[in-house]
Assembly symmetry: C2
DNA sequence: TTGGCATATCGGGAAAAGTCGATATACATT
DNA sequence: AATGTATATCGACTTTTCCCGATATGCCAA
């Protein structure tokens, strides 16, 4: 994954917020039946609702974050759940500490 | 400083390279008379030369990085020297570790 | 198998970023 | 004061990003 793409993914207010929300899903999203926040994540609809942006925009933003390895997704039935990707975030932290 | 602006500053290949070069100036730039790399930094002309981009572009890139608190500048005579800003980089690392 | 949701993808218009050459400014030397 | 050199700013053009509505796809229930 290109480093520039990681920073591009982070250079948007809404996308940064999404990552922040996913860090503490219990605080930022309503209770979810049949899907543990920690293991599975938060579904697209909830994230969209919270963001106030259109469905298509949020879907695209999530895929940008995923391509940058900052989040990962799980499909369950008709829902897609997204959660933080700890490895990707750790790698980013290392880039900053060792290369910049 | 807005977090988004920090990530925008980093979402460009050349600007990332500049930060990398400034991390180890002795390895990346020729000897400089009258200006210690550690204390004062590297002058704009050397950075431009190494980047291959135009003078105006590099001047602007350096000011983008400076506005994001990632580098700082010192004017000495007709030269402006830029160096890494450790505090800003540390703050960035903390943002990633605590907010994302 | 038809209809209804949830999500993804497509096409596009507006705004921002990338990058340049030309010009301005600031300082140093003669 | 005039010239030369280093850097900054301006104006313009091209490319990319933002964000939307419309449409497609995938899955489930009746």
């Amino acid at each position: 994954m290109d480093q520039v793409e990681i920073f591009k993914a982070l250079s948007n207010k809404t996308r940064l917020q999404i990552l922040g929300w996913l860090k503490e899903p219990e605080l930022n999203f309503p209770e979810q039946p049949n899907a543990d926040f920690e293991n599975i994540g938060v579904c697209v609809g909830q994230i969209q609702l919270k963001s106030g942006l259109s469905q298509s925009t949020i879907s695209e933003y999530l895929s940008i974050l995923q391509r940058a390895d900052l989040i990962s997704s799980t499909r369950l039935g008709q829902w897609t759940y997204y959660k933080r990707n700890k490895e990707g975030l750790k790698k980013l932290s290392e880039i900053i500490n060792t290369e910049l």
